[in-house]
Symmetry: D2
Subunit: 396 residues, 4 copies
């Protein structure tokens, strides 16, 4: 694995130079006012990235998985019922976490490759006259399948059913890369990490709580200390944490938010869409299909590409690593061996992406797939040329 | 607060140049073999720092507090009884966590400034004929009071009582700086973080589990997912994590262990003792007392210094920050306002320490305490001159 | 210009991660023994890269141009005659320097795109019965035209003529990337810089002097102080410089030499040849010609590509910068507007190179040249697949 | 030598964190507009630091010594007469350079420790009726003796004599640290480097030329190519250099100027004076004398401290390095063994300085000098307490 080549995994992303430097900080006193000058703008920046005026943002030295646990353990009690669809590895894992915390999960099995079934959600919620369901779980972007679901539709399902359940959204691989509307979509807890749209190393769980979710913390009895949002809120009120914060990563998060907001969120989303479209053009030129079943659910941060029956897709990932020093993602769970994944999120240029596409092409040809060299590259080039990037940011 | 001056807080420490660089990594694929080349040596290095042949080491993207939660939630069930002494803020917080996780804590109140009461532990354990106590909690070094306790004595208490309870030790501010013997002391879970003896940023919870502690995980029913050691162990077996690891910090931990082991643990401990003795010489010259009641419990990583009755010790910390750009630690909890703390752990030289002592001296004089300028410095100089450092490490 | 994309200029190269870090040093005392531990191994490493046992290596805080001036001013006197061919911008500039220093240059005009005319050198040297020619200048690799000349042939010309003139070789864009044999080729002064084969920033002039060249310094009267090799040699004997050295760059040079020697010089050269062959395959697929007239002079570090009559080659370079954030090299001097240059030296992988080729392809198509998208990429992919790299180095 | 301790050499200085990062740049195309965005603001910033509206600023990849050579070789011809006083090692070396370039130097021998003799200059200039003297050399701050001379007085001497000679000033260890007035003092060439007041690594020669000096370049015949200011000016007009620039250092210089100007030059000078006064208070408390003969010439960037007759001052420097890992400067030339030097320029806080003073104190005591431990520290503390710093800058 060479440090010279970009990575094409669906997170952590390639880290922009100035974020590398923002994170690489000497030690400061994390109880000094200087820390507050990092913490508060970072939290404020995240809130803007969430498109929220009302979310209370908490940032833990942890990962997205810790963010899920924060969501559950602060708002629910053992035995509470939650509704969740399983349509990929990450929704599966969140369900597993619920069960391990003693929650009663009503699972809607959904084919991997499809989006969340808002209509089934509506039926179930409508049927739940006693409002036993306390929370609805929704994975905005299934990183395992490259499927983006319609969270607004899930909100509409809740509204149509007149159901008071909270809406918890895993935005780990969407927030900061794709449109995400905490307030408009009536989200109660949004969860993400530092290593995707924020383009940092892993190490931060980032969550937003609505007033309703905060209210639920008053009665929730699942045990929690490390992930307790009350302790965290008390800390923040004193420019501090209840324990030692990851200061450098927080500084990076602050700068990352500033970068995203300076570029303009809609521009950020458009940039991701453009890069993704080029990848999809290449996939089409190769004659391959996405795991995602139709364009309405194509993800702008990761593409899971189905390889022909009988071919081990994981061989592509191993070959790319061993022969070309390039990292792609393997298939996970149900689609292990059936797909390989190209991550195209974060600070990725068309030029970088073309080298990923060219590498995938070589690997598939090396392994005997009937792929014409240059075909995917040409399709992507054609797309990128015809749809120029808005601007190239200079680093300071 | 200037980045030019060292910090004298009891962690995070000043970060050595090569550890800064080790942590500042470009993104690699955390599912590639390269990651295994970081993870396994890091775990192996930690085990050696713990002086253990048998500890299973787990490293979470979290902090010491998360390490405590890992210890409790993996080995205990709601209602289980634990024995713990409260002799400072950190033992207090661990007890609080136990209670919030539904454990039944038998608390031995102990004056702040004293070490853990091994004799009281022995009495209570001996009296616990039914072995209802499942675990004994021990804070090796109370960062709040600068008190180091005798963990070997706690082990002897358990042995004398013939009691099978597990022994959990918080070594957050001792491991890597002071002698710590996982195997010899019969420790079942040891907890630390990346930001103290390992001289890194905060962001890693580092725990060692004995075979007995691992066995306890089979029956423990406290809910856990993020901190689940089984998931972690399964990940490790595949060169991976159950979620995204903090790769740069792990790389730093690997190099940090190598530095400590190359220097020799006994040399590392002697170096900390030497620096601490200079600080204590200064404190003596000032005519002030430590919070720690007698030399047998003086901490080699942090000194909590009592200021005269009626004087607000916190003013020293604020004045140092505002006027001289230097960070000391405030008193916490019961001793808030009564002590200020000088951290002297990690990669601290006598030369750096003298600037901290000189600064404390100026601050106390500025605030009207009867301190002769240069007096503490002279005492520390005298000690450092008479007790030369073993060698100055060159950075590579 | 984005920091995310690699650069494809013929130096400075993309800097490997560990060299970035080696150069980024805190201040050390440049008169301390620690400095000697950097300086001497760096000089020794350079000598090995030069394939020399006898060269005295001097390193100035300067650039390749300063290296030329070091060569001339230490060994020659005003009015001395030197022999030089002009076959590109860099040989032209060296000749200009000679003239500005009052030397009498016998210039052999040579078409740009051709190598040095060893046969003409031989004729002229043979004719110079009085040995008025004191030095022969030879540009090993003309960065402007992508032409590598046969230095061994120049040596043979000198030998055939029985001429005692010194042989000065500009190896700026060859040393560390292409075979270079200081001793075998009877070189008297070799000149390079830090920013090409050594993969560092610009800032060091690196020269090797043969015993004969050192002897010439005794009688040479051109004025010199900053570039005086005697002052430098006296400094080195005391672990020091006659002025303040560029310590970080020297540290980088030391590590760079270690990297090159650990990889094996022949492997380094083969790696450069492989990358270059892929680029040439692409150029062939585009139906374009190199400035270099035939394969015997094709450079493995830079390709200068002729564009069709009437087309402004510089537009490609500007378009690449403005539209795709990628840097190529423009044509210089006689070939300005007629060629654009792709640098392919230093730490360049096939994967990175493919993105450069893909970008050039898009630019040419955008600007109306008849280039089929993907054609060059496919040709390069085909070459790279069929000629796999030896190994991918892991960074430490 | 530990990387943890500050250095107390008279340059290179301790490098502030943000300048380290500014210099550590990935490769950019040094012929792209982005480079112009670094180059021009850097030159403009230097001009402001010189307090000049009219100086043309040139920046070479070289050092202060190269700056001297730039001054001489661009403006003078072999045989030209220059006037120079020798009052320390650096004025000595500049004189030596003149002689090696064939200039005819009228040397005013001046006791080391004294400032430049403006009155003698005036006599000599007045006596030079034919105006054979083309340039007067003046070392603003003799780094070897810690002596600052009165450049305004030298200008007055020239004016009083009605002499048209150019005034060349070596401001290597003064510019950016002490008041320097290019325009007010009628300076024709000012010379400095990156590694002193600009707080960067060595690697840049920075010179300012007055219109009169630029005019002199038209007729000057000393050979020059690397240091030719015409080539450089032509390069600048095209956003470029005549060769490859040291881009990272230039970026650092740009940021450094911004830091100095944001702080305010007068504040920068006051800060240096304050730190220096503390050092001098310590020296007084030790009962030692400066090499500088009286307060009017005390340098605010470096103090050369005389040790008692018969004592080898260099032993202090070696002992500090070997025993305490701290770097001081040795005596040079005439005062070798008689003085040791403490550098106190650049980004130095009172807190850092106290550790240097404390170390010097220990070293002298260790080596048998009659120095009371803590005495110098106390004197400096007293000064620093009574003269608080204006503000502590936060790093971004």
């Amino acid at each position: 694995m060479s440090f010279q080549n970009p990575v094409f995994i669906p997170g952590p992303t390639n880290i922009p130079e100035n974020l590398r430097k923002a994170c690489d900080m000497p030690t400061i006193d994390h109880r000094s006012p200087l820390f507050g000058q990092i913490l508060h703008p970072a939290r404020c920046g995240v809130r803007k990235v969430l498109k929220s005026d009302k979310a209370e943002v908490f940032i833990f030295p942890s990962t997205g998985t810790g963010g899920w646990e924060t969501a559950l353990s602060n708002t629910l009690s053992a035995g509470d019922r939650v509704l969740a669809a399983r349509n990929g590895m990450f929704s599966h894992r969140w369900i597993d976490m619920c069960q391990r915390h003693g929650l009663d999960v009503e699972i809607v099995e959904t084919p991997w490759g499809r989006g969340l079934p808002a209509d089934r959600y509506e039926e179930i919620l409508t049927a739940d006259k006693e409002h036993r369901i306390k929370a609805v779980l929704a994975t905005h972007n299934e990183t395992a399948t490259g499927v983006t679901s319609d969270i607004a539709a899930v909100r509409r399902a809740l509204d149509a059913a007149g159901h008071p359940a909270m809406l918890f959204v895993d935005g780990v691989s969407s927030i900061g890369s794709m449109d995400f509307r905490f307030d408009d979509w009536g989200i109660d807890v949004a969860v993400t990490g530092s290593q995707k749209g924020f383009m940092l190393s892993a190490g931060l769980a980032i969550v937003g709580f609505s007033p309703k979710a905060l209210e639920a913390t008053e009665t929730a009895t699942l045990p929690r200390t490390f992930f307790d949002v009350h302790d965290m809120a008390r800390g923040y009120a004193n420019n501090a944490y209840p324990y030692t914060p990851a200061v450098g990563l927080l500084n990076g998060l602050n700068i990352s938010c500033r970068m995203l907001l300076d570029e303009g969120l809609e521009n950020v989303f458009a940039r991701h869409h453009r890069i993704a479209q080029g990848v999809r053009a290449a996939i089409g030129a190769w004659g391959l299909d996405l795991c995602a079943v139709d364009p309405s659910v194509y993800s702008d941060t990761v593409s899971a590409i189905r390889t022909p029956e009988g071919f081990d897709a994981t061989a592509i990932v191993n070959h790319a690593a061993n022969t070309y020093g390039v990292a792609f993602g393997t298939g996970l769970g149900e689609v292990a061996g059936k797909v390989f994944r190209i991550g195209h999120l974060g600070s990725m240029t068309d030029v970088m992406m073309l080298s990923g596409i060219a590498t995938a092409e070589m690997c598939m040809a090396d392994l005997g797939l009937d792929i014409r060299l240059g075909s995917g590259v040409a399709a992507a080039q054609d797309y990128y040329r015809s749809n120029p990037a808005i601007a190239h940011r200079d680093a300071a």
